[in-house]
């Protein structure tokens, strides 16, 4: 297991990191000095941190009212809403970026609506604002999710005790509830900072090189074949994000797990007839919900709408026609949609098949409490901290360009590399799903099975795996969705047209001007991607449930 990871992760990434300090086999700090001493790069890192900080603040601000709504109020669809907060996370980021273009672009849905009431147009594309909004789209639900969970685990009896001792409701919230929420808020903030620090497709599509972050610039340097410079950038970025992940893991480990006992806070009904309209708190939440719909549903709806309408607002199927014409085009260098779709599905299945056992193994290692397993867990968690571009670059430098082993030159090509990279990107999410489920299983079930005659492996198959089946299915769905949406590494590794995936094709269509200056082709491809992602997610879930039913 670790050996696999060494080959497909540590070796490639190590090669990137080492090239920052090794030139022709000699240790040197020249590349590091060159980058760190260059005011341009200092500014680049500064700007990257700045936009990550702003994105974090906005994501927390947008996420917290959501947690309040979900944790403290009861309304139809609450459970559904609570479970869809996970969805943005698995949506392909390049598709979301195109959604934001469709929503907030010059001729986008937002400006169309503004012009109806005689306002606008507002220029958002190419500004920091739209990047931060798109980051909030991804990370605010994460904040909501983590804080809601913490809020729901507050033991009513503690609040009631505070109240009986004389605390007002507000005071009890401040003294009892808030201290339990703050760790969740900080955890989600640190995660958001890490994710937005390494953000790539959103900044690439919405900001371009004018608003480049480290990741975008890194990509640009790779495209210009300035590989040493790119590697140095990647090494510094990886060091920074590893530091952040370390802080996050240390912090997460110190958090006290709430006791499973106790009663949970009761939820208040959100709708209380006409009185809902005079209660400032509920009015605030209604306004918030409206904003949330604009931010979260808007871009996806705009993606579909723009793919079916001309800039003048008339219905059209031209953009889908464009996809068909690309398919039948014989011109060299044309990215055909159908192979992209089948590549995506194929890579998705491959990544799923690889990531699932990897994820299960990591979970099994993680829940064993010994020093060796701590180290193994840390080594197995590290891929979270390494950006897709750095991994992709490492793959290019090692396995793809070839590597010497026992005198033989070994090269691994396109699809296999892409599938492994996707699996590396996906298995942490499998682990995230499986570890809680696995550690939730009473050890005595396995003890009992073994006393009855089952050996350890048989007990795993007979007892543990069936009990974590729902988590396995969820993990599989995640792995598949992550693979389908993966852009950062794939765009570097999908050389030429043969192994382009849907997100890569989508990015190529953004710049396509064959139908005039229109986002149409990209939105059409984006809609196809959205449909394929949704259908496969639902299919995996359904199949899983049927298989799970006994």
């Amino acid at each position: 297991m670790l050996a696999t990871l060494v080959v497909v992760f540590y070796y490639p990434v190590g090669s990137v990191l080492s090239s920052a300090i090794l030139v022709d086999g000699q240790f040197t700090v020249d590349p590091l000095v060159a980058v760190l001493g260059d005011p341009f790069y200092v500014d680049l890192f500064g700007f990257t941190a700045y936009q990550a900080l702003l994105s974090t603040v906005v994501s927390v601000a947008v996420g917290l009212p959501g947690a309040y709504l979900l944790a403290r109020f009861e309304f139809p669809g609450r459970k559904f809403l609570r479970s869809v907060t996970i969805l943005p996370f698995v949506l392909p980021s390049i598709m979301v970026a195109v959604g934001f273009l469709a929503m907030f672009g010059q001729t986008g849905v937002f400006n169309d609506l503004l012009s109806v009431v005689g306002l606008g147009p507002v220029k958002l594309v190419g500004t920091l604002n739209i990047i931060i909004l798109a980051h909030a789209f991804y990370n605010a639900p994460l904040v909501t999710r983590l804080v809601t969970a913490a809020w729901e685990s507050v033991d009513t009896r503690r609040v009631e005790t505070a109240r009986t001792l004389g605390a007002s409701p507000l005071r009890a919230f401040y003294d009892v509830t808030l201290p339990q929420l703050i760790p969740a808020i900080l955890t989600s903030a640190v995660l958001t900072f890490i994710f937005t620090f390494m953000s790539f497709p959103i900044v690439l599509a919405l900001g371009g090189l004018q608003l480049a972050t480290v990741e975008v610039w890194l990509y640009a340097r790779v495209q210009d074949l300035a590989l040493t410079e790119a590697a140095t950038l990647g090494a510094i970025e990886t060091a920074l994000s590893l530091g952040l992940i370390y802080i996050y893991l240390r912090y997460e480990a110190t958090q006290i797990k709430s006791s499973s006992g106790g009663r949970r806070l009761a939820r208040k009904p959100l709708f209380v007839g006409w009185r809902s309209l005079v209660d400032p708190r509920r009015l605030g939440l209604f306004a918030y919900s409206l904003l949330a719909v604009v931010l979260f549903v808007g871009p996806l709806a705009s993606l579909v709408i723009e793919s079916l309408t001309t800039p003048q607002g008339a219905f059209t199927l031209d953009y889908y026609g464009f996809l068909l014409s690309q398919q039948s085009s014989a011109a060299v260098g044309t990215t055909q949609p159908l192979p992209a779709i089948s590549n995506s599905l194929l890579f998705g299945v491959g990544a799923l098949a690889l990531a699932l056992p990897m994820g299960v193994l990591v979970s099994v290692v993680a829940i064993r409490e010994s020093r060796g397993s701590r180290l193994a867990e840390a080594l197995l968690t590290a891929p979270l901290a390494v950006s897709g571009i750095v991994l992709g670059l490492g793959m290019l430098r090692t396995l793809v360009f070839g590597t010497e082993l026992f005198g033989h030159r070994i090269t691994v090509t396109g699809p296999i590399v892409i599938v492994t990279v996707h699996a590396v990107a996906a298995y942490p999410f499998v682990t995230r799903n499986i570890t809680p489920a696995l550690s939730g299983i009473d050890d005595r079930l396995v003890d009992a099975a073994r006393a009855l005659g089952a050996d350890r492996q048989t007990a795993l198959v007979d007892i543990e795996l069936p009990l974590i089946a729902p988590a396995l299915v969820a993990g599989a769905a995640f792995a598949f969705a992550i693979s389908i949406g993966e852009f950062d590494s794939t765009v570097l590794l999908a050389e030429g047209v043969d192994s382009a995936t849907m997100p890569v094709a989508l990015e190529r269509y953004i710049g396509n001007r064959s139908l005039g200056p229109s986002l149409g082709p990209a939105t059409a491809m984006g809609t196809v991607l959205l449909a394929v992602t949704t259908i496969s997610f639902v299919l995996i879930d359904r199949t899983g449930r049927r298989w799970n039913r006994r």
């Binding site: 009473d442 099975a449 006393a451 050996d455």
Partner: protein, 359 residues
């Protein structure tokens, strides 16, 4: 007595033997040099306060803990290094540990996948037989979560017994149940154990349960055995202060033997020593006397035997008697009094010096 060929068996008729067993968890020694012989067909109970090592000992017999030193021998076969699945044991846990994704019948049948039944019996028949044994005939198709706690525990017992194990191990099986059910079920467990004549190791922190159910008891503390004997002997003749205080209610005093060797001087008072006590003056001695061996008199009439003057502090009503907590020289002495009204005020405590037990 016949000699066995192998000399690895310390006691020829023992079904479970544990020799010099030591188990460590990091720097904590959970079991410290424990040796035990549990006889064939015996109902043997490990009892002690939480953290005393009783569960660790049971789990070591099951193969669920790995001892750093010592041996575990089941039915004459050394199994110290063997995994649990090859020891032919049945185990029941406090929280039942039923497989939630299997029906009651599937739970019971699980162990039969790995064992051949004696006389080539049909597994389905065996399951039905066991459901009958634990009074759950007709419950086979239920899911575990459709059963009450007591029913779930009976399924766990049936599951453990199904593969015809050599030894039945029970880890606090009744602790999660309410008091009434606990008493009913312990009678049922004992009855089944007698019926099957199966060697049984039972772990509990409840000394009353241990006394009620066992052929023999091992009292444990701090990873060590304090005393191994019949319930009667452990109760009447405790081997240490720890046993005297843990098993049953007791009054325990420590002090020094007086100059004439006939009394024990404890802070603020003198207590008689039983006749024939062989102790030099000045030695420190611990003695105990059970609450039921003391009598309590409220009227100031002179009474025979040894007496102490005391004051009633608190009274607990037990139904058939009172537990009277008296203060004598700032020490509490508990007396079990079968009176119809609770005693109060100044009282005289009377006892026979020979009922005092020297520890």
């Amino acid at each position: 007595m016949t000699m066995k060929e192998t000399n690895s068996i310390p006691t020829p008729d023992a079904s479970v033997d544990v020799t010099d067993l030591r188990v460590r968890f990091g720097s904590v020694t959970a079991l410290d040099d424990v040796s035990l012989s549990i006889r064939d067909g015996e109902f043997f109970t490990l009892v002690g306060p939480s953290g005393c090592g009783k569960t660790t000992l049971l789990r070591s017999i099951a193969g669920l803990e790995t001892p750093s030193e010592g041996q575990v021998i089941i039915d004459g076969r050394e199994v110290t290094a063997e995994p649990p699945e090859s020891r032919n044991i049945g185990i029941v846990f406090q929280n039942y540990a039923l497989f939630p994704h299997m029906s009651v019948a599937e739970n019971i049948a699980y162990g039969l996948r790995f064992h051949d039944l004696s006389g080539d019996r049909d597994p389905d028949e065996r399951v039905a037989e066991l459901l009958e044994l634990v009074d759950l005939a007709g419950f086979g198709d239920r899911e575990p979560d459709q059963l009450s706690g007591g029913q779930q525990q009976r399924v766990a017992l049936a599951r453990a017994l199904a593969p015809e194990p050599d030894v039945l191990l029970l880890d606090e099986p009744l602790s999660a149940l309410d008091a009434r059910l606990r008493k009913q079920l312990r009678v049922q467990i004992k009855t089944i154990q007698r019926e099957l004549d199966i060697t049984t190791v039972y772990v509990t922190h409840d000394q009353a349960e241990a006394l009620a159910i066992s052929d023999r008891i091992a009292v444990m503390q701090d990873g060590q055995l304090q005393q191994v004997d019949t319930p009667e002997a452990v109760y009447r003749d405790p081997a240490s202060r720890a046993v005297a205080e843990f098993i049953g209610d007791n009054n325990v005093f420590s002090g020094r033997v007086t100059d004439d060797g006939s009394q024990l001087s404890i802070e603020g008072g003198l207590l008689p020593l039983p006749t024939g006590t062989d102790t030099a003056d000045g030695t420190s001695v611990t003695l105990s006397i059970r609450p039921e061996l003391l009598s309590i008199y409220t009227d100031n009439q002179p009474v025979d035997g040894q007496t102490l003057s005391a004051t009633v502090n608190t009274v607990e009503f037990l139904g058939d008697a009172y537990h009277v907590h008296c203060l004598w020289n700032n020490r509490t002495i508990v007396v079990k009094a079968a009176a119809t009204t609770p005693p109060k005020g100044e009282v005289t405590l009377q006892f026979d010096a020979d009922d005092i037990h020297i520890l």
